[in-house]
């Protein structure tokens, strides 16, 4: 079981929706959740930032870990609906060059495999 709520989109991608602040305290949970999803066979993962207020570098590290894990399993990790703060830090760290950012979870993986 994951800490944060998850669901599966029509195209078969897993959506995980963390809430609040992703910091040193919550980042390990997010990382564990991402690993659990990928290991459970959901290699296409969307992290839905719709309910995330704030993310720091620990949160970003968790995303990188998850991204690595998903890609090594043949899938991908993408991001949807980041707020202004999240977008700013993704751009400041240039991480937006590596992780795809989409407006909605559905838009992240529009097609079936």
């Amino acid at each position: 079981m994951t800490t944060f709520p998850t669901r599966i989109t029509e195209s078969g991608a897993a959506v995980i929706s963390p809430t609040g602040r992703i910091t040193m305290v919550t980042a390990p949970q997010l990382r564990a959740d991402l690993y659990a999803l990928v290991d459970g066979g959901n290699t296409r993962v969307v992290v839905d930032f719709g309910a995330v207020e704030f993310i720091d570098s620990s949160g970003l590290s968790a995303l990188i870990s998850g991204l690595k894990h998903a890609r090594l399993a043949g899938g991908d990790l993408r991001i949807s609906a980041p707020n202004h703060q999240v977008t700013t830090i993704l751009e400041a760290t240039t991480l937006s060059r590596v992780v795809g950012i989409h407006e909605t979870p559905e838009a992240a993986f529009p097609d079936h495999v």
């Binding site: 570098s57 990188i64 760290t93 240039t94 991480l95 590596v98």
Partner: protein
């Protein structure tokens, strides 16, 4: 005495006649509060600048004796170097920021103290650790032991200090010396702010209370405080103290938001470092993808040659993938998202491969096995091999079967995409490409928009090298590191830095080119005295009328800005260590251009063995001095017999020789120095 303990405080409040930075802001006080130079100081800077330019322009256009270009050109180049050096100093002083005391620490700020050690004596490390425990602001103290010593671990546990060594991830990976040590600790601790101390730097209890306040500015990433050595006599024979640098120069850089990290006695914001690590990760991934595409292109070329006789659909598939490679490379140049580029690329490779999917499976497997074997027992397709030029050559030279090539390209892209198996940690917060990780890291911090502050108050005291050999090794290392950064990441070309920041980093690097200028300054008077060759057209009124006022006013400016801090020793060493600077420039260049090792040594804080006077260490300086004295004798003898060009010429050049000799003579003090606490008479007896 310059040291800031008592002194700096009163200086901070000295606002009279100075321009304040707090220009009539009614609501929030600006965080960079303090004072900038007065109008008079700035007029002085302008005057020196104008005189310097006036002199050097005239030198180039009207006074170079081109007939003897072999000495005239080096001399005028050296003089140009010095005028530019002076102008960089002027630019630094223009915005010298003397900060007002910072506000109290941010509410609830958490802090760690890192004490980095490799081979220093356990007692020394523990003395620092105990002082760190006495720091009054709540914090955790950690010893970062890169030497992995049980004895130190036991001592740390006994006095309740955290003890960290490299985690298992680091086995068989590049260790990156001190930068790696800090990176490793960043992953095992959690304080928001980190005070970094070298093993010998004993902190004052108030060090965190006095510095954390600057971090109320959410963009502040670094607060640097001075390095001060308590084992150095007032005369400072080895030039260990850097009162001009830890003072006016860092304050000047600070005014341009370019005060930089010096490796110890500084507080860093963890979040800034971690973000830097993520940027570095993205840059490495991009580099990996770039290299993979380059390699893919080469592989496709040879596959295409081999496929010329095969079926049309195979040829079509290869051509399609080659177009995809070219598109992807263009998109990287256009800065498009790497995720999109690699995803699209993979899709096109798959599509092309599907057409010929039934073809020659066996040759494909053979090719894959070759790639796997290049990894030598490790998992195949690790990004590592892409960074290894030998592997790259081997792969590109091999003849590829068409489909094998496609599969290989696909696998290779998968691997470099996001994984960095060549490094122990996925993200490396501290810059690891240079032996002076500190300067490189702060340059990257500034380039990504963070701020820094220089706090001019001595809050930790350390041990300087006690003998000339260690001192020389240390200077060589600093110089090599700085020149390495200059060559690898030239600040003048760094995106994200302001013009002022570029110039401030450049100024430090520029100062390490002094060795070449010194050779010209030593050679020119000697050449005149021996051969009567005069590198300037005439020792005329024009010449002295331009040069002397510049030199005098330049020294005056120096005095005004250093305000009684002893700077003479520093000036002496910047010329007298010319062999060290030249060696540093040469070895750093060979390292960057041809990957030669630097011959890097950790500076020892313990006294070296005490053999006789180590004349060999300063042989070039001794050679220069003997050469200058002989030249003077020859010149004076020629003058006596009426064969010299002019009395004035000999007079001027003998004067320069004397200046050179006074400056170089510092090495006699240096090689005879036997460490603090043993007075001169003991040294005499030992001889």
């Amino acid at each position: 005495m310059w040291f800031a303990g008592e002194n700096a405080e009163s200086e901070w409040f000295e606002v009279l006649g100075e321009v304040t930075a707090d220009t009539m802001k009614h609501r929030l006080p600006r965080l960079e509060s303090g004072t900038y130079p007065s109008v008079w100081s700035r007029l002085l800077i302008v005057a020196v600048g104008v005189l310097g330019l006036n002199y050097i322009v005239w030198r180039w256009f009207h006074s170079v004796n081109w007939l003897v270009w072999w000495i005239a050109v080096p001399l005028v180049l050296a003089e140009t170097y010095s005028v530019i050096d002076s102008m960089l100093f002027q630019t630094t002083m223009w915005r010298r920021l003397r900060r007002a005391p910072p506000p109290p620490p941010p509410e609830g700020a958490t802090a760690d103290i890192f004490i980095t050690t490799f081979n220093e004596p356990v007692e020394m490390v523990m003395a620092t650790a105990e002082a760190a425990q006495r720091v009054s602001y709540p914090h955790s103290t950690w010893i970062l032991d890169d030497g992995d010593r049980d004895e130190l671990a036991a001592a740390a546990t006994q006095c309740g200090v955290g003890y960290l060594t490299r985690s298992a991830h680091w086995e068989d990976k590049p260790r990156h010396a001190k930068a790696g040590n800090l990176n490793n600790a960043l992953y095992q601790t959690e304080g928001e702010y980190i005070l970094v101390l070298d093993a010998d730097q004993v902190p004052e209890p108030q060090i965190l209370d006095r510095t954390l306040g600057y971090f109320r500015d959410p963009e502040m990433a670094l607060v640097q405080t001075p390095q001060y050595f308590h084992n150095v006599p007032f005369s400072d024979p080895l030039g260990s103290q850097a009162p001009l640098f830890y003072g006016p120069i860092q304050q000047g850089k600070d005014g341009w938001n370019a005060a930089y990290f010096c490796g110890t006695n500084a507080v860093l914001r963890r979040e800034a470092l971690m973000q830097l690590g993520i940027r570095g990760y993205v840059a490495a991934v991009e580099e990996g993808v770039r290299r993979a595409l380059y390699l893919a292109d080469k592989m496709l070329k040879s596959a295409r040659r081999e496929a010329s006789a095969s079926r049309q659909e195979v040829i079509d598939a290869l051509d399609k993938v080659r177009t995809a490679v070219h598109d992807a490379r263009r998109e990287i140049r256009e800065n498009r998202s790497l995720a999109d580029i690699t995803y699209e690329f993979q899709r096109r490779v798959d599509e092309a491969a599907r057409v010929v999917v039934d073809a020659d499976v066996s040759s494909m497997t053979a090719d894959l096995n070759v790639i796997a074997s290049l990894g030598e027992g490790r998992e195949p397709f690790e990004a590592m091999m892409l960074f290894d030029d030998d592997a790259l050559q081997t792969m590109a030279q091999r003849d590829w079967s068409p489909l094998g090539a496609l599969r290989s390209i696909r696998a290779m892209m998968d691997a470099v995409d996001v994984d960095r198996p060549d490094e122990a940690l996925p993200t490396l917060p501290m810059a690891t490409f240079s032996v002076t990780e500190d300067m490189a890291t702060s340059m990257q911090l500034h380039a990504s928009g963070w701020k820094s502050a220089y706090h001019d108050e001595i809050l930790a005291q350390g041990l300087a090298p006690d003998d000339v050999r260690t001192m020389l090794a240390q200077r060589l290392r600093w110089a090599q590191g700085t020149v390495q950064v200059m060559l690898r990441e030239n600040p003048l070309l760094q995106r994200g830095l302001s013009i002022g920041q570029r110039l401030m980093y450049w100024a430090t690097m520029w100062s390490y080119l002094a060795g070449f200028a010194a050779v010209a300054y030593i050679a020119a008077p000697a050449v005149y005295l021996i051969f009567g060759v005069i590198p300037v057209k005439a020792y005329s009124w024009d010449f002295f009328g331009r040069l002397v006022p510049f030199l005098l006013l330049n020294q005056f400016m120096f005095m005004i800005f250093s305000r009684g801090r002893p700077t003479w020793r520093g000036q002496q060493y910047s010329l007298a260590l010319f062999p060290v600077w030249i060696k540093a420039c040469y070895s750093a260049f060979m390292n960057v251009a041809f990957d030669r090792p630097l011959g890097f040594l950790v500076t020892s804080k313990v006294r070296q063995g005490r053999e006789g006077i180590p004349w060999r260490l300063v042989k070039w300086q001794l050679f220069a001095m003997v050469f200058l004295v002989l030249a003077s004798v020859i010149g004076i003898v020629q003058l006596y017999f009426g064969r010299a060009v002019s009395v004035l010429g000999v007079g001027v050049n003998v004067f320069w020789v004397i200046v050179d000799l006074i400056v170089l003579s510092v090495v006699f003090q240096a090689i005879r120095y036997r460490g603090h606490g043993e007075d001169e008479s003991a040294t005499e007896e030992e001889r």
